[in-house]
């Protein structure tokens, strides 16, 4: 059968190349736009992280003064959280594959989808402007805690406005996905035949729609207070700083699930494909995504056990935090059970999925220490927290994203990367990751607070070890990116279904065509019902 043109090849519609990309309505092209911009921001955030780590190799001043350090960790946080992690999987692979997995031609609102990317770019421009205007780059940390963010002379106004804009970008994506999943499923695509990746995006979409407006309101109030002197949060004007923390975390804790749920979705798709076996407990895995989204919206104040709120509130939020651990544990148990009596192919996406399960487990289990009230008091705001959320976000979402890249990029581009190098990069990343972040957990248990430019001599050995680990991690990242990007452009052509997947994206050609489907597909079976026959060697 003759192949159609790939979606990234020019179409004969008279539009120039730049216009055909920047003003495209095609969900695949928008996904690719997101992919490259997010990768660019990841490289910036990664560099900032590396520089921060280098500064901490020894106590005292090594590279920069304290103010520069404070600015850099703020930028690292803002860029990584708002520009990389929150859009990450939904905006890239979600955009590209959600409609295809549903058997749809596009998302429900293609123009809003494009607007969402443009809002993202607008927010990015604002952040860049905040570096060079006003009183200098913000130095408040990505959390913008009042009253510090109201007394600092740095350019917080523009930075929080950028966050406001980015919030809308996220809301639009969520709105689009939820509508698409409700309205554009093809014939036979019942709710229990949805791929688990779609289920996770569905849960994520609801959080984006419901929680992000709270963030928008919060940063708006910070601006109102800074510009007009209204006393919402500043106690010297009669405000309450704890109110800010509540409002901030009402969004920012569910945001953690915006980050991790899509990665769980990716892993739930990958594990059965490479085990050649239906996922164990499909309904429980799908339902646990909704459980996480729901229960995860009720745990925000576990960031505030030491804030001075009432002990009763600590009791309630500690309890709810442990409740949200249950669906996460169910997912992990079900992934491992899926492997039982399968026929496992250990290709690169599967390696990244295994690394994900381990790192996410460490992140989740260290989260239990933080959810338990008595122990949280000791490790709150220490390096233990820094280690914990890097295990969850980088080890979880990051490795989930890498798994998705190795799983789907050959499908998108029609070309395969070098599998051997991909596996090596996974090993180096895994070693470097633990080398970098495990010492942080120990530092926190030793009692070293976070956001410290300088530190007491007893913390030096572990800080030193952590910095060495960061170089291994950086090496792993560079090898992986070079390998996969080179493979995308120059790798050897790949067949339509290299991994033997059963979801709809594997039924169309690779590279992806302009039109997803020539005629609307009909689904007659679940997403992970594989034939008994083995599959060919993909690599």
């Amino acid at each position: 059968m003759p192949k159609h043109d790939a979606f990234y090849k020019p179409q004969e519609d008279g539009k120039g190349w730049i216009r055909s990309w920047l003003f495209t309505h095609d969900h695949k092209r928008i996904g690719v736009l997101y992919l490259y911009t997010i990768l660019a921001f990841f490289l910036v955030g990664m560099t900032l992280g590396g520089v921060i780590r280098f500064e901490l190799i020894r106590p005292g001043m090594n590279l920069m003064d304290a103010q520069t350090y404070n600015v850099l960790f703020t930028l690292h946080g803002v860029i990584m959280i708002f520009f990389v992690v929150i859009p990450s999987i939904p905006a890239t692979f979600g955009n590209i594959f959600l409609p295809i997995q549903l058997g749809a031609d596009d998302v429900s609102f293609p123009r809003i989808n494009l607007l969402s990317w443009w809002m993202y770019i607008f927010g990015a421009i604002l952040i860049v402007c905040s570096l060079f205007t006003g009183g200098g780059p913000p130095d408040t940390g990505w959390t913008f805690y009042v009253p510090f963010s109201e007394v600092t002379s740095t350019n917080v106004n523009l930075a929080v406005f950028a966050v406001f804009i980015l919030g809308f970008s996220s809301i639009f994506t969520g709105l689009n996905f939820v509508t698409t999943i409700h309205r554009l499923r093809c014939e036979g695509m019942t709710w229990t035949r949805l791929p688990l990746f779609v289920w996770s995006l569905y849960a994520t979409g609801w959080i984006q729609i419901l929680a992000t407006p709270v963030l928008a309101i919060t940063v708006l109030l910070v601006m109102v207070e800074r510009f007009m002197g209204v006393g919402m949060f500043d106690p010297s004007k009669g405000g309450d700083p704890l109110l800010y923390q509540h409002l901030f975390w009402i969004y920012s804790h569910p945001a953690v699930y915006i980050m991790i749920l899509p990665a769980m979705g990716v892993i739930s798709d990958i594990i059965p494909v490479f085990a050649r076996k239906n996922i164990f407990g499909y309904k429980m895995v799908a339902f646990s995504s909704l459980m996480i989204a729901f229960a995860g919206s009720l745990v925000w104040a576990h960031h505030m056990f030491t804030s001075g709120m009432s002990d009763f509130a600590v009791l309630v939020f500690s309890f709810l935090t442990f409740v949200v651990a249950i669906p996460s544990a169910i997912k992990v148990f079900n992934w491992v059970t899926t492997l039982y009596k399968g026929s496992i192919y250990t290709d690169p996406p599967f390696w990244f999925a295994l690394a994900f399960i381990f790192l996410f487990s460490v992140g989740g289990l260290t989260g239990l220490i933080l959810g338990s009230a008595g122990t949280d008091i000791y490790v709150h705001d220490t390096y233990f927290v820094v280690g914990h959320f890097h295990y969850v976000i980088f080890g979880g979402l990051g490795f989930g994203f890498f798994a998705a890249m190795h799983y789907w990029l050959p499908k998108i581009s029609g070309r395969m990367y070098n599998c051997k190098i991909a596996k090596w990069s996974c090993v180096i990343l895994f070693v470097g990751f633990n080398w970098l972040y495990f010492p942080m957990l120990l530092l926190g248990l030793q009692g070293m607070p976070r956001r410290y430019y300088d530190y007491l001599p007893e913390f030096e050995p572990l800080q030193y070890a952590s910095t060495l680990g960061s170089w291994v991690l950086l090496a792993g990242l560079l090898i992986m990116f070079v390998n996969i990007l080179y493979g995308t452009w120059k790798g050897k052509p790949v067949e339509d279904n290299p991994w033997g997947g059963e979801t709809l994206e594997w039924k169309i050609q690779a590279p992806l065509p302009h039109e997803n489907f020539e005629e609307e597909p009909t689904v007659t079976a679940g997403p992970y019902e594989f034939s008994d026959r083995g599959r060919g060697n993909a690599c």
């Binding site: 007394v151 030793q446 607070p449």
Partner: protein, 409 residues
């Protein structure tokens, strides 16, 4: 005796429970997953088996984590409750966090930058902040509590061994956040009492001592006549004194005489005054006596030390004394230069002098210097002497104009 269990043990027990369960789970999951990957690799197990959904196993997968996390929650909560249950009769210390140091105030008004506590005594810390949010963190006692402006929070601990333990700020508060450090000094009860008393009184200046012991109701400090000789310029003068047996002799007022006159006043009575003064032996300590005599001899200036006042009140953690910029204008060269202030709605430029200084201490918000955003809290508890002393200190940091002109040329 109903000795409360130290929360440190409760919290550590919760750590052991959660880490214990976590390590078993992590190793279990990892080893089982790796075993499956080996055992069911497609080369060893080419045909996947179709398994029916197993409801019972799923129920186990739900119940197992539920029970484990509820156990963890329980022990964590027990630890937290211990951290929040202050025993009755705990020693109260008021803690104020501010950019970028800690101030600890004891019930008798004694203030310190280091937290001295007696061993085996429960201590309740009443915590607040002067500016932004800080967090008082003492890892050795497993306590951490935010210092929030406009709000009172608390924490408590009971030291069980002597030693020095770190205090850190764990809520990011600005440029010097990492240097907002102090220590808890756990000392014996006797050492603590001595520290509390001696340092309390040594800190008081001589004038206050004279007032507190009631000396000034008979002995003036300004040369005016009372029912006893004035203490002003008393030292070194010749006095005719009368011994108890009625003989008169002339002596020179020296340190030995002053000491005797306070501890054993009726031995030698200055002629013309009644022998009514009681002995202060056992009331006025040797250290205090030295301060009082020092004032009379002129060896100890009773004026406070401006630099020390500034250090103790945290001024120098934002204002440098060497011209470098920390987070606020440096004190170097501040005296005598023009500063921009607001008067009502209008901006005015004023020469920095004692009056401006005092004004800024009480109303920091009037400063409109360059890009500085005023974060400084109001300081209205300084005594006039302290303000004067600080002003004197600022004067010493003034930049010599001639020198400056020479440099500029």
């Amino acid at each position: 005796m109903n000795q409360p269990i130290n929360p440190v043990q409760q919290v550590d027990f919760a750590f052991y429970v959660i880490f214990g369960i976590s390590i078993v789970l992590l190793f279990g999951i990892t080893l089982i997953a790796l075993f499956m990957v080996y055992r069911y690799h497609h080369e060893r197990h080419p045909k996947p088996e179709k398994l029916k959904d197993n409801v019972w196993l799923e129920v186990v997968w739900i119940l197992l984590p539920s029970l484990l996390v509820m156990a963890m929650f329980y022990y964590g909560w027990i630890g937290f409750k211990a951290l929040r249950s202050v025993p009755e009769g705990a020693m109260q210390v008021d803690v104020v966090g501010r950019m970028f140091d800690w101030s600890f105030e004891y019930p008798d008004g004694k203030r310190s930058n280091v937290l001295y506590v007696p061993v085996d005594t429960p201590v309740r810390l009443n915590i607040t902040s002067d500016d932004v949010i800080h967090s008082l963190y003492i890892p050795a006692f497993r306590i951490k509590m935010d210092a929030v402006p406009g709000m009172d929070t608390y924490a408590w601990f009971q030291p069980t061994e002597l030693g020095s333990f770190d205090i850190l700020c764990s809520e990011y508060c600005g440029i010097q956040h990492a240097n907002m450090l102090s220590t808890v000094e756990v000392v014996s009860r006797a050492d603590f009492d001595e520290w509390l008393n001696s340092s309390t009184k040594a800190q008081q200046n001589a004038v206050a001592l004279f007032e507190n012991y009631g000396c000034t109701s008979c002995h003036s400090l300004d040369g005016s006549r009372g029912s006893g000789p004035s203490l002003l310029n008393l030292y070194g003068t010749k006095h005719v004194v009368v011994t108890p047996d009625g003989t008169e002799k002339t002596i020179v007022v020296d340190k030995q005489y002053l000491r005797e006159a306070i501890y054993d006043p009726n031995k030698l009575i200055t002629k013309g005054y009644p022998a009514v003064m009681p002995s202060y032996k056992g009331q006025i300590s040797e250290e205090e006596l030295a301060v009082m005599i020092g004032w009379m001899t002129g060896e100890i200036e009773e004026k406070p030390d401006g630099k020390a006042v500034m250090e103790n009140n945290g001024c120098l953690s934002c204002h440098s004394t060497d011209g470098s910029i920390i987070v606020a204008p440096s004190f170097k060269g501040l005296w005598g230069r023009d500063v921009v202030l607001t008067q009502g709605e209008t901006k005015v430029s004023k020469k920095f002098d004692a009056k401006v200084f005092e004004n800024i201490l009480r109303h920091p918000e009037i400063v409109k210097e360059g890009d500085w955003n005023v974060m400084m809290p109001v300081y209205d508890s300084f005594t006039p002497e302290e303000i004067e002393a600080m002003a004197e200190y600022l004067k010493t940091l003034a930049v010599d104009e001639e020198e400056q002109n020479r440099e500029n040329q």
